[in-house]
């Protein structure tokens, strides 16, 4: 873990709680999918919790994020409620999007979550436009785009960072490098050792950190956020990490060598942080209490989702348009 700094116990426990909350949520989602209870695709982020939590801890409530197809962790870390999220992935009326978006599209505009996104790289220009908005309106929010190593090869990535750098927009580009775009190893499709090195091309700061070390992530993102908020422009922060499950639930991930997966299992971000906290003098019972509380919360979220009604089919045309919806959908 990173060097000892002065952190409040309250903050450390909050971070631990959020990491455990994400893990338990994902485990439940994975279990429900395996039992055939969930429709569609689910992409869980087990193993990547430190990136989401370390990053969002460095943001203010009023800051914005865009997320990805693997977005449950980002949304939880930014404050989304697990019951409304669980209801959404169950396709229920009480979900964040009333069941119209599902797992890949959770959004809560009031929490600054501009949406997870089903298109790889699509959140990057959206975050950049949000950053541009803060600059135009002269408000001081920072917008952070979560994306993976796969998205770093899209045109959306290059086009957006080029403009953000040219106009010094308050944006942080947070790459969760889990080393695989679905089945393809990043090193077989790129010529650089890491993604952050590309920052040089835009003359902006770029850092690569241990993405399984929640405090290292927090420190790096905090710096990038401060840099952006002070009007200096964007940065790239790259978190080296690994997803313990396949690309989607049901993917056996045979394209990854077993020993690599085993090695990353030993670097589990929650275990690492737990060891750090115990060394730091936190009582084990306190952490157990957090884990139990999260178990309860996720169980409640699951029950809420299960017992919630499906949306009415009569609402299927609602919300295509803000105005003149009826006429615009009927023909």
């Amino acid at each position: 873990m990173s060097e000892k700094q002065e952190y409040s116990k309250e903050m450390l426990l909050r971070m631990y709680e959020n990491m455990v909350r994400i893990r338990k949520f994902e485990e439940k989602a994975s279990e429900c999918f395996a039992k055939g209870m969930l429709a569609g695709n689910i992409h869980v982020c087990i193993g990547q919790e430190a990136g989401a939590v370390g990053t969002c801890e460095a943001l203010e409530k009023t800051d914005f994020i865009t997320s990805t197809h693997r977005g449950h962790g980002h949304c939880i870390a930014k404050g989304a409620k697990t019951d409304k999220m669980m209801a959404e992935i169950f396709g229920k009326e009480t979900g964040y999007c009333h069941g119209k978006g599902g797992s890949m599209h959770i959004a809560d505009i009031n929490l600054g979550i501009l949406g997870a996104n089903g298109i790889v790289g699509a959140g990057i220009p959206i975050a950049t436009g949000s950053g541009m908005t803060s600059k135009i309106k002269k408000t001081n929010e920072v917008t952070l785009a979560f994306f993976g190593d796969g998205a770093s090869n899209t045109g959306a990535f290059h086009e957006s960072i080029n403009m953000a750098a040219a106009w010094k927009l308050p944006v942080v580009y947070l790459c969760e490098n889990n080393q695989y775009g679905v089945s393809v190893n990043i090193h077989t499709v790129t010529n650089t050792d890491n993604i952050a090195v590309r920052a040089k091309a835009y003359d902006i700061p770029g850092t690569t950190v241990d993405g399984n070390d929640v405090l290292a992530v927090y420190e790096s993102v905090k710096k990038a956020v401060k840099y952006a908020r002070e009007g200096n422009g964007p940065s790239i922060v790259e978190c080296m990490t690994f997803r313990m499950h396949g690309h989607y639930e049901g993917d056996p991930a045979k394209y990854r060598p077993k020993e690599v997966t085993e090695e990353w299992k030993r670097k589990d971000p929650i275990n690492a942080f737990k060891t750090y906290l115990l060394d730091d003098g936190v009582e084990e019972s306190e952490l157990t209490a957090v884990e139990e509380a999260m178990d309860m919360e996720i169980q409640e979220a699951y029950k809420f989702a299960q017992s919630s009604p499906y949306p009415n089919t009569s609402d299927v045309l609602e919300d295509n348009y803000s105005s003149d919806n009826e006429r615009s959908v009927i023909r």
Partner: protein, 327 residues
């Protein structure tokens, strides 16, 4: 009343909206010093500054995606694509993001943005700068689509498009930009979804939009000599569609042709023809016939290009054929 061109009218409409609402911004290539290739944003950079007149690099995917993000945050971006053909490099922000985010977030998010793009053939620009892509947009739920033909309409409609809370695709025909007409002085807004009978008649209805309105009006003039009284219904807005206006006109004339410049196959004219046949079949004295562009890439050479899109004679001949059907 003052006489101004379509491009001037659009400029004036946008200028009034920029003055009215500080959330309205312009984004696109060459909008600044050059004032855009068709001169629509001339003087805007000087008047409104670089925060509101954003001259972008050549990267439609990036800046259109940024406009979506800005719109989600309450800005009202007006994005200019230099040609509608260029939308092919930024279809993700248009089709997957702007069009769908409201629905997919259960109504949480609004995307109040306008994408302006010149469309159409006739300038010898060949296949990558001449397409009429309105059918591509009308196919996508979540988008509104506007295709004005005259200066008066263009001004009133661009103002409505900017004020609308949904993504609006605003397609301007390049060969209409310089056409002048008298427009009302001062502020006026033309609501989206209202067709306009550019000529009233009782024998046959020509349903059309954009530049083909003028070919239809020319054809109507010629047909008048043969005693045929043609109604020309300019849709102005394709989504939402003014079905009431279509119904009223069809019930009056009982004969319809639908005219569009774009390729016939999968054109929006086919959609209108199908709707009329499905719902107003009993009103019809003849089958609804489409007059549209050929199913080909737009060629460069002038005689070839002129052979591709419909003209006055095509419309005249089709009207006569339709009416002969009933005689």
């Amino acid at each position: 009343m003052i006489k101004i061109s379509v491009s001037h009218a659009i400029r004036e409409g946008m200028h009034e909206e920029m003055l009215r609402d500080e959330n309205v911004i312009m984004m696109g290539e060459d909008l600044g010093t050059m004032g855009s290739p068709f001169g629509i944003t001339q003087g805007f950079l000087k008047e409104f500054g670089p925060d509101r007149v954003i001259e972008t690099p050549i990267c439609e995917l990036g800046f259109t995606g940024m406009a979506v993000g800005a719109a989600m945050r309450g800005i009202r971006p007006v994005v200019e694509l230099m040609y509608d053909d260029f939308v092919t490099v930024c279809l993700d922000p248009v089709m997957n993001q702007a069009a769908k985010l409201r629905y997919m977030t259960g109504g949480q998010i609004k995307v109040p943005m306008v994408i302006r793009a010149p469309l159409g053939a006739g300038r010898r620009n060949a296949g990558q700068h001449s397409q009429c892509l309105e059918a591509l947009f009308t196919h996508i739920p979540g988008l509104k689509v506007v295709c004005p033909s005259t200066a008066r309409d263009a001004k009133g409609l661009i103002k409505a498009a900017i004020r609308d809370d949904d993504p609006v695709i605003f397609l301007e025909h390049k060969l209409l930009y310089s056409i002048k007409e008298e427009i009302p002085e001062g502020e006026y807004v033309i609501p989206l979804g209202k067709a306009d009978a550019k000529r009233e008649g009782k024998d046959i209805t020509i349903i059309t939009w954009s530049r083909q309105v003028f070919f239809a009006l020319d054809a109507a003039k010629e047909l008048e000599k043969d005693g045929i009284d043609v109604e020309v219904l300019d849709l102005r807005t394709l989504v939402p569609l003014d079905w009431e206006a279509i119904k009223k006109s069809v019930c009056k004339t009982h004969n319809v042709i639908v005219v569009e410049e774009g390729c016939k196959r999968g054109g929006y004219g086919s959609e209108i023809a199908a709707q009329i046949m499905e719902e107003l079949f009993d009103e019809l004295d003849s089958p609804v016939v489409r007059v549209a562009g050929l199913n080909t890439v737009s060629p460069f050479s002038p005689p070839l290009e002129d052979a591709v899109f419909p003209n006055k004679n095509d419309i005249v001949n089709t009207v006569k054929k339709s009416l002969n059907y009933t005689l």
